[in-house]
C-alpha cells in the first residue's frame, strides 16, 4: 500500500498525459492526400484518339510509352490546347497547387510544358503538350480542388501543323515522370492490332482522364 501511495503522483501524471494525447485535436496540421486527374487537352470536350500509348507513332520505335495522340486541328474549327484537370482531396482544401506553362520549344519542334507545383513550391512533375506553340508562359494558374472533384481548365497553347517539319496537326500529350500514372487507353501496339483506337471519348467524364497523380504530405 505504501508503494502505491509513493507512485500515485507519477501514475496520475502519466495517465493524464496519455489521456491528453489520446483526446488531442490535431486540426492545425495533418496528413493530407490529394489527387489530380489530367485530361486530354483538345479544343473540344470530345476527343478522338489518333495513336495509343507511345513515344513516336512510327517505325520500330517503342509500341508503348508515356503519351497519346489526339485529333486537334484548325480544320475542326479550333486548334487550341488546354490544361484540363479534376482534383479532390481529403481535407476539403480549395487548391491542390498551381501550374506554370513553360516553353520547351527547340528548333522547329514546339512544346508547351505544364509544370505542377504544390502550394509550398515543391515540383510535382509535368505534363508535356508536343506540337504545341505555348501560350501564357511564366505565370502560374491555381489548380482547384475540394472534397468533391473540382475542375480547372485554361489554355496552354495552339497545335502546330507540320511541326518538326514533318508531323501533321495533332496533339501529343505525355507525362514526364512515372509519378503520373496512365489511364486505361490502349497502347500503340494494341491500336495497330485493331483493338480499338477509334471513336470519340467524352472528356467531361471523370473516368476518361489521361494521367493521374497522388501526393501525400502534411498541410494546413
Amino acid at each position: 500500500m505504501k508503494h502505491l501511495v509513493r507512485w500515485l503522483p507519477a501514475l496520475a501524471a502519466a495517465c493524464g498525459l496519455l489521456l491528453g494525447m489520446a483526446t488531442a485535436e490535431v486540426g492545425h496540421a495533418t496528413t493530407y492526400t490529394f489527387n489530380v486527374y489530367n485530361y486530354p487537352g483538345t479544343h473540344s470536350s470530345t476527343a478522338t484518339l489518333n495513336c495509343g500509348w507511345h513515344v513516336i507513332c512510327e517505325g520500330d520505335n517503342p509500341y508503348d510509352g508515356p503519351g497519346l495522340d489526339w485529333h486537334n486541328s484548325s480544320s475542326e474549327g479550333s486548334n487550341t490546347v488546354n490544361w484540363r484537370s479534376f482534383s479532390a482531396n481529403d481535407q476539403s482544401y480549395g487548391y491542390a497547387g498551381s501550374v506554370q506553362v513553360q516553353d520547351g520549344t527547340s528548333g522547329s519542334c514546339h512544346t508547351a510544358r505544364a509544370a505542377l507545383f504544390s502550394p509550398s513550391g515543391a515540383a510535382l512533375d509535368r505534363i508535356n503538350y508536343l506540337h504545341t506553340s505555348p501560350y501564357g508562359t511564366g505565370g502560374y494558374t491555381a489548380i482547384n480542388s475540394g472534397s468533391w472533384p473540382a475542375s480547372t481548365e485554361f489554355r496552354v497553347g495552339t497545335t502546330v501543323d507540320n511541326d518538326c517539319g514533318q508531323f501533321a496537326a495533332h496533339l501529343h500529350q505525355e507525362r514526364d515522370s512515372s509519378n503520373w500514372t496512365k489511364n486505361y487507353y490502349p497502347t500503340r501496339a494494341n491500336c495497330e492490332n485493331g483493338s480499338g483506337c477509334s471513336g470519340y471519348i467524352n472528356i467531361s467524364v471523370w473516368s476518361n482522364y489521361q494521367h493521374h497523380r497522388t501526393r501525400y504530405a502534411s498541410g494546413y
Binding site: P9, G20, G107, S118, S120, S218
Partner: protein, 261 residues
C-alpha cells in the same frame, strides 16, 4: 470504553485531501501536456533556408492573383502557401533580353534550320544516333540523374543523317534540385543557334562548357521555374540546349559537361 481521537481523524483527513488534490493536479497537468504534444504542427515545412521548400501540399489559402508582385527588397517567406507566385509574376512582367550571346540568339521566333528537304523519323532512334554526335551518352550522367528510356530523333531522309535529338532526364535528391524533383529537356540540333525562350537580361551569363562557348540563364528563384544552358557546337554548326524545370543552373552546367565527356 475509549472515545475516538477526533483530532487524529481530522489531521488524517486533511492529509488525504491534500494528497488527493496534488494527484488531481498532476493528472490535469499531464492531460494538458499530452494534448499540447499531440497537437503540435507536424512537419510544417520548417524552412531552414529559402531553398528548403517544406512539404505543404494543400491549402485553403487563395493563391495570389496574376497582378500580385513582391514588396521590393522583401525576402521570400517560404512558410506561406504559394509564396513563390508573386516572384513568378514579377519575372513574367520584367523586360526580356532579345539578342545574341556567344553566338546564340534568345527571344527569336525563327532562324536557321537543318538543310534538309525531307525531315523524317528514324525507325529505331538508338540505331540512328549510335556513333554520331547525337548519341548523348545519357547513361553516363552524374549521380542523381535518371535518364528516361527513350528520346525523340529527327533524321534527314535525303541522306539518313540525324539532325536533332530531344531527350528528357529526371533528377531527384541532389543539391540544386527542388525537393519534389526536377527535370531537364536536352536537345541538340544541327544548324540551330536560336531559341524562343526569354529571360530578363540580369539572368544571363556566359562562359564555356567543355571548352565550347556557352550561355547560362538562371531561374528567377533557386530550384523554381526554368533555367537553361546552351552550348555552341562546332560539329554540326548548331547547339545543345539543357532546359531545366526546378533545377539550378549549376546542376545544368554539371550535366552539360558530362554530355561532352
Amino acid at each position: 470504553m475509549r472515545l475516538p481521537d477526533l483530532n487524529h481523524w481530522k489531521r488524517r483527513n486533511s492529509r488525504i485531501a491534500v494528497v488527493f488534490i496534488a494527484v488531481l493536479a498532476l493528472g490535469a497537468g499531464g492531460f494538458v501536456a499530452g494534448r499540447h504534444l499531440a497537437s503540435a504542427p507536424a512537419e510544417a515545412g520548417n524552412p531552414a533556408s529559402p531553398l528548403d521548400l517544406g512539404t505543404i501540399s494543400g491549402s485553403d489559402a487563395t493563391p495570389p492573383g496574376p497582378d500580385v508582385t513582391p514588396v521590393p527588397g522583401s525576402t521570400p517567406d517560404t512558410t506561406k502557401p504559394f509564396w513563390f507566385i508573386p516572384y513568378a509574376n514579377a519575372e513574367r512582367d520584367a523586360p526580356k533580353f532579345h539578342g545574341t550571346l556567344n553566338g546564340i540568339e534568345f527571344g527569336a521566333q525563327s532562324g536557321a534550320l537543318p538543310a534538309c528537304a525531307k525531315p523524317a523519323t528514324p525507325d529505331d532512334w538508338k540505331k540512328a544516333v549510335a556513333g554520331t554526335f547525337y548519341d548523348l551518352k545519357l547513361d553516363s550522367l552524374p549521380d542523381g540523374v535518371e535518364p528516361r528510356e527513350f528520346a525523340r530523333v529527327g533524321k534527314c531522309a535525303d541522306d539518313g543523317r540525324p539532325i536533332w535529338i530531344i531527350a528528357e532526364v529526371h533528377l531527384e535528391g541532389i543539391t540544386g534540385v527542388n525537393n519534389g524533383g526536377g527535370s531537364i529537356q536536352i536537345s541538340r540540333w544541327e544548324a540551330v543557334r536560336w531559341y524562343p525562350q526569354e529571360f530578363p537580361p540580369e539572368r544571363f551569363s556566359t562562359g564555356t562548357i567543355a571548352g565550347r562557348p556557352a550561355v547560362f540563364a538562371d531561374s528567377f528563384l533557386p530550384v523554381i521555374g526554368v533555367a537553361a544552358v546552351v552550348v555552341s557546337d562546332a560539329e554540326n554548326g548548331g547547339s545543345t540546349m539543357l532546359l531545366g524545370n526546378a533545377v539550378s543552373v549549376d546542376v545544368l552546367k554539371q550535366v552539360a559537361e558530362a554530355l561532352y565527356k
